[in-house]
Structures are given as C-alpha cells and as structure tokens.
C-alpha cells in the first residue's frame, strides 16, 4: 500500500479532457481522470461506501459503492472506475439495494457490533448505512468471533469487535502520516489490523500518536480513551490537509 497513486479502473487518458455521461438519468460531466464516485458526489448523487475516503488511495474493498453500467449490466465499484464518454450509470436499483443490504448483513454478522454500547453510537457510518439502506435485521448467523481489545496505547484504543477491515487506518497512516504503523495480518475472515509487527499499540515504535486513524475510522473500532457510549466525535481533517499540501507543492 505504499503507492499513493493507486491504480484506477479504466483507460488512462490525457488529463483535463471532459467526458459526459448519465448517472441515474441525469446528464453530468467530469474530467477524464475522475471516477464515477467523484463525479456523482460533485453532482450531489450520494453512493454508499465504507472503505473509500477522498484523499486516500481507492481500493474497492467494501463493494458497497457497486453501481451498474447500463450497457453491460455489470456491477463495478464506483470508487475505482473511471468515467467514460457516453457511459450510463445506475447507482440505485432494486438489485443494487438488495446486494448492499446483504453486504451490510455480512458485516454485522462478521464481528460483534453492539451499537447500544459503542462509543460511535449515532456517529457510526456502518450504523447509519444500515438505517439508510433499510437493513433491519441480519438473516445470516452471527459468527461471534473472539477478538481482542488493545488498550495499551496511552490515549487511543482499538476494539477489534467493531472493525470492518476498511483499512482506512492502514492507508492514512501510510499515505498521509507516513508512519505505516498499521497493517493487516492473517487471511480471509481471520484478517486483523495490526500495529507494527503485531506488537501492542502502546509498544509501537512507529506510531506518532497523531490520531488520524481514529478520525477516519468509520465505526467505533478506533477511539480515544475516555470516550463513553455515543460520545465519539469526528473532525474532518483530510480535505484540508490534502488541500494544504497541494498549495505547498
């Protein structure tokens, strides 16, 4: 994950070329190098997403931003698919809604998400998406994994029960802070985010205590100590930071 210029789907075109396309029936346009998600958001068409954050590399992992390309009927992740001339994109249909709800069900069943006692209650992207997409119960069995909480850091803590493996923490730590404290270990459903070589967070030699991971965590998996149920607040910092860096360059 060390290349910030992560590959984006679609042909690499000369910059500043304008493409016109339809999203949900609306005629919209964007620059050739933009993704469907970027253009949709610019036109106030919201697409659900959990792993993607503007300012970090796009990885297409959570699959919630899947949209349908009308010509082929194929589903593509909006966060990593470049716009193309004449493209018709459907961001919301019965089929897409069903898939998104099922994906959320899989997430809720994967770890132990107890909204009622979570620091992020009311301010959790997972919880809010479930509400918005009408996921009112989980039909698959809860896996109830036995996963730890690491509270060894003096100000911050990680509760793996609430982690959805979006890897925002991994990317912001690597691509913005430059510390690369976070990474992922293990395979499949046993994958976990780890600090350094799976040392306790408090023993990490690379963590700069900057807290960017906590700010970007979509759930209550990463939080400041001393935060109680529903007390977690988040500050939007990445857009300012990236804008500042751009001006400096």
């Amino acid at each position: 994950m060390s290349t910030p210029s992560s590959p984006i789907r679609g042909p690499v075109e000369a910059p500043r070329q304008i493409r016109t396309l339809k999203i949900d029936g609306f005629d919209v346009s964007g620059r050739a190098e933009q993704t469907i998600l970027q253009v949709a958001l610019e036109h106030e068409i919201d697409i659900p997403r959990l792993c993607h954050v503007e300012g970090l590399s796009a990885i297409g992992a959570c699959r919630l931003c899947l949209v349908e390309i009308r010509a082929t009927g194929r589903l593509v992740p909006a966060c990593v698919t470049r716009i193309e001339e004449g493209m018709e994109v459907i961001t919301d249909s019965k089929r897409i809604q069903k898939y998104r709800r099922s994906l959320l069900e899989l997430l809720f069943a994967e770890r132990n998400h107890i909204c009622a006692v979570c620091v992020a209650n009311g301010n959790c992207e997972l919880q809010i998406l479930a509400e918005e997409l009408g996921m009112d119960h989980v039909r698959v069995p809860y896996l109830n994994p036995d996963v730890p909480v690491d509270a060894s850091h003096k100000q911050l803590a990680v509760d793996h029960n609430r982690c959805i493996l979006c890897t925002r923490c991994v990317r912001v730590c690597d691509e913005v802070e430059g510390a690369h404290t976070w990474d992922v270990e293990g395979r499949g459903v046993d994958a976990r985010i780890i600090t350094d070589m799976r040392q306790p967070w408090g023993d990490s030699g690379t963590c700069t205590n900057c807290g960017k991971c906590v700010e970007l965590c979509p759930t209550g998996a990463l939080f400041e100590k001393g935060t109680c149920v529903a007390e977690l607040e988040r500050r939007e910092f990445l857009p300012y930071l990236t804008a500042m860096r751009r001006t400096e360059q």
Partner: protein
C-alpha cells in the same frame, strides 16, 4: 554461445546419446520420487556399473512420465518397454532384460496402451525423455532452437503474430488469447517491461505445472525468453510456490546453466537482446495465483488482488507493462515457433487450439498427468486414458477447474472438452485439475470441501468473499449435518449470487461455483439432506434429532 554453436551442442549430444545401445529412464518427478524412485535410479546405475555396461547403457533420471499411479516408473529404450511399480531390488531383472522381451516377473505396460496412445504431448513432449538437470540434453532435444530462430530471423512483431495465428489461449484457466495479450504488452510504451511466469499452482489435485517445471524447466525459460523478446522485456520472474522444492531446485539449476551458456542474461546468443530471470517464492497463499495479487507479492507487498482494469499488460509490476502467462502457456511457445502456427492451429477445436495437460486424480484407475488435444471427450479422458473407476464402482461426476470450477455429471461425459463447452456446463477449464468422483462421493460434501478451501484461502480484502465464504460454509455444514431447513438452502443460493456478482477478484467471484454446479446437477442430494435428513451417498453423519436450532 551463438546460434551455430547451439547446433553443435545439439549435434554433439545426439551423437553421444546415439552411442548407447540402451537407455534406461527413471522418473524422478515428485510423484515417483515419493515412492523412492531415487533409490531405483541408484540401484540401476550401480547394477549397470557393476556389470561394466555403462558404456553401452545410459541410466538417467527424467521428468514425469505421466502414469503416476504406476510409480516408480522405468522406461527402457529403444525397446519401448515401460515398467511400473519398480523397486530397487528389481534392478538386476531390468538390466537382464535389456534388448530383450520385458522381464516376466515385472509389471510391464504396453506401449500402445490407451493411456499413451490417446495422448498428444506438446507441452510435455520432453517430459520423461530428457534429464531435466542437463542443459545439453535439453538442447539436444531442440531446446532453445526456437529462441535462436526468433533472435536471428524474426522481428518481435513477427513472433507475436505467430503466437496470435496459432490460436493459443492462456492455460492458466481463463483462456484469454495469448497472442492478444502479448500484442498489448508489445504495443505498450514504457521504459521497462516485465515477463512473469505464474507457477503458483494451487488447485487441490492439480500438478500440471509442477510436473512441467520438474521435468523440463528449460522449456519454460525458453518460452519466457521468447516472450520477453516479443514484448520488449528485459526482466522476468517465475512466481513459484515454495511447496515445490524440487521444481525450484531444478529451475535454479536451469537458470544457472542457461546463463553460463549465454541463453539468458546479457546479449543472448550474441544478439543485443538481454533478459534475466529470477525466482520469487510464494508463501502458500492460493490467491497469489491471481495475477494482481501475484504482482503485489512480487513487489513485496501483502498478496491481495486489486481491481482490474487497469490490466497488468498496461499497469503491471511497479506500474510497468507486464506479461503474465502460466507455465503451460510458456511450455507451448517453443513448439509453436518450431513447427509453425498452422501446425498448432490444426490441433484442437474451432475456438480452443492445441492440447491441454490435465492432472487426472481421484477415483480413477490411472491417476497421473496427461496431455490430450482440445476436443477430446471427458469419457475418453476418464475411461480410455484414465482406465475408468476402480473396484467396479459407478462414475458420478468429474470436478474440473479446481475451487473455481464445477462438477460435471455422467450425462455430459461425451462433451468435447474446450474452454467454451466446460463453461456452458457450469464449470471451467481452469488450469487442468480433474478430480473423478464415484458413487460414494456426496456432492454436498464435495461442495463443502471446496468452500472450506475458499474460506481459508480468501485474502480478506473484499467483504463479500471474506465474510460470505464462512457463511456459505456454515450453511453447507448445516446441510451435511442434517440440521438445515429449506430456508437455509434459499439463503445459500442468495449468498452464491451475491458473492459471484460482488466479489473483487476471480477467486471470490468463482468461489460459489462448486455449490452452484452441484446444485444444478445434484439438487436432489441437497434436498435429501434437508427434507429427508439422509445422505444418499452415505457419507455425511446426520443428526438424529429433527430439532432445528441455530
């Protein structure tokens, strides 16, 4: 070495080999080696030496001869005799029978047995014939001649055209036209390009690539060098799983030998074309056979796939155009350039040209490695070449394509095998694993086996595969324990649809295939498990209570 010298080496070796009145080949591929063929080789060498025959009789270790079920295998030429299940103690009897009728008390296999008669070796043409550890011998068997011809007589574009015209398609599974891939990389403009050989063979029951690498490693190096010349690459990698120590050792040796003879490295054969090959060992992750995960692994990152496009041909290793082909694909390159595109295109079916190597495994008499023309029927493969099902049991299904493939039932045994026909049947060609199952196999249990594999091998990057495979496995487990209700089957089918349509990479998208194909052909068995709480094959231990609890 220049091309003329190459011919000299070949001629020299052929002359040398011609001096021997007898040649005894002992299979030293992993299968036979595991039943002590190295000791057989040793005792034969000793026997020949003791009788002072070593000037008339050459005894050598060779690569896979195919009929793994008969291992250790020993072939005697020019007598054309093949002995199976040879023990070190039988060495004197074999030497006694040289130039004579096969020794009576040894198990001899007829040269015209259907197992060999129906095959058409191209990728495997030198496997079981040459000593994989001797580059001179490989050169004597036409090795590197095609590379020499490319460097002296063909432009890179001409090489690409030959491959395109041959109709060769990727042997790793998806069947993408090889020529088209080469041409994309050739046309890409970049400072650097790479060629990668995907030897991360991971399907359960598959050993095609391993056998080729163990039996004829120089063929792969030559294929890669030709590819590099054609697309303009100067660096190659063989990504090979660390579980193949013998193949790794032989590849290493082959690379060293080839470099010493100027067949790899700087200014190959006096031309201005340079190409080096390095090995990269996989650490046991199945998903690293997926090309984008493989590249991440070569770059030293966590082996997880990334979305495509961009395809490696445009954006590959470290962002440079990269050609990735499978072992067997590279193994076909030399012969195609040697014999011509038309010759290759004359073999096989309309859309699938050439031959395919299959690893025949499971409930079949002649388990082993075979190579047949595309278009051969499953029945010919399993019953003629494979010798049918042992112990008089009935055939039930054949699983092709590994965890991404599916099970094909008896009524489709006469379908001619090619990329399209298998896809229509709900399976895939895949890399060539073929597992035969008889009446004692429970198809739900088979689906569960493959789902367990996919769950374990999911990399965890994308949500549907990571969190969907354990759920599908859980449901299959409930079914095999007799605890499932119809709603569970519906849920299973829904999850199959979800994962197939939303997962990021090929591994995830095809993970439901073993379930979908067994549901398609053996739905009755699922229903028997659920509604009658019985396993028709008698494989699953069903819970006696009908209590439905989660």
């Amino acid at each position: 070495m220049i091309p003329e010298e190459l011919k000299d080496v070949a001629a020299q070796w052929q002359e040398q080999a011609g001096q021997y009145a007898h040649q005894v080949y002992v299979c030293t591929a992993a299968g036979c080696l595991s039943s002590n063929s190295d000791q057989v080789l040793e005792s034969l060498q000793k026997e020949v030496k003791d009788r002072d025959l070593h000037e008339q009789c050459l005894v050598k270790g060779v690569g896979c001869m195919g009929l793994c079920a008969g291992g250790p295998l020993v072939a005697v030429q020019p007598d054309g005799v093949l002995y199976a299940h040879v023990t070190p103690e039988q060495a004197p009897a074999i030497v006694d029978a040289l130039g004579d009728e096969p020794a009576a008390d040894l198990e001899a296999i007829e040269a015209d047995a259907p197992f060999y008669e129906r095959q058409e070796p191209i990728a495997l043409e030198n496997c079981g014939r040459v000593d994989p550890e001797s580059i001179e011998e490989c050169i004597g068997a036409d090795g590197y001649a095609a590379l020499a011809r490319c460097l002296t007589a063909l432009s890179p574009t001409e090489v690409v055209n030959v491959i395109s015209k041959s109709g060769l398609r990727g042997r790793g599974g998806a069947g993408y036209p090889t020529g088209l891939k080469w041409s994309t990389v050739e046309k890409a403009r970049a400072e650097r390009k790479f060629v990668v050989c995907n030897a991360d063979e991971g399907d359960p029951g598959a050993f095609m690539d391993r056998s080729i690498l163990e039996g004829d490693p120089h063929r792969i190096l030559e294929g890669m060098a030709i590819a590099a010349y054609a697309v303009g690459a100067d660096q190659g990698y063989v990504y090979i799983r660390a579980e193949y120590p013998l193949a790794i050792e032989r590849l290493r040796k082959a690379i060293r030998q080839a470099k010493r003879m100027d067949l790899l490295g700087g200014d190959i054969m006096g031309s201005n074309f340079s190409f080096d090959i390095q090995l990269r060992l996989g650490a046991g992750a199945f998903v690293c056979g997926e090309e984008t995960a493989l590249m991440a692994s070569i770059e030293g990152k966590r082996g997880t796939p990334r979305p495509r496009p961009p395809y490696p041909a445009n954006y590959g290793l470290w962002g440079y155009p990269t050609l990735i082909n499978n072992v067997e694909t590279f193994a076909n390159i030399g012969p195609i350039l040697r014999e011509g595109a038309d010759w290759f295109a004359g073999i096989g079916t309309e859309k699938s040209k050439g031959t395919k190597v299959f690893a025949l495994a499971g409930s079949v008499l002649n388990t082993g490695l075979i190579e047949v023309p595309m278009g051969t029927t499953l029945r010919e493969i399993i019953f003629d070449i494979g010798g049918g099902i042992p112990d008089g049991r009935a055939f039930k299904a054949v699983q092709t394509g590994g965890p991404s493939g599916g099970c094909i039932p008896e009524q489709y045994l006469d379908v001619a095998v090619d990329y399209e026909s298998l896809r229509e049947l709900g399976s895939i060609m895949g890399s060539g694993g073929m597992i035969v199952m008889d009446e004692t196999a429970c198809m739900v249990d088979v689906a569960k086996f493959f789902m367990e594999f996919c769950r374990t091998e999911s990399c965890g990057h994308c949500l549907p595969c990571r969190a969907g495979t354990p759920q599908m496995l859980g449901l299959l487990d409930r079914i095999t324990r007799g605890e499932a209700v119809m709603r569970d089957l519906e849920m299973l089918e829904e999850l199959c649809d979800l994962v197939r349509n939303t997962a990021l990479c090929g591994l995830g998208q095809t993970a439901p295939n073993p379930v979908l194909s067994t549901l398609r052909y053996f739905r009755d068995e699922y229903l028997a498990h659920i509604e009658d709480r019985t396993c028709p094959a008698g494989k699953c231990k069903m819970r006696s209570t009908t209590e439905v609890n989660r």
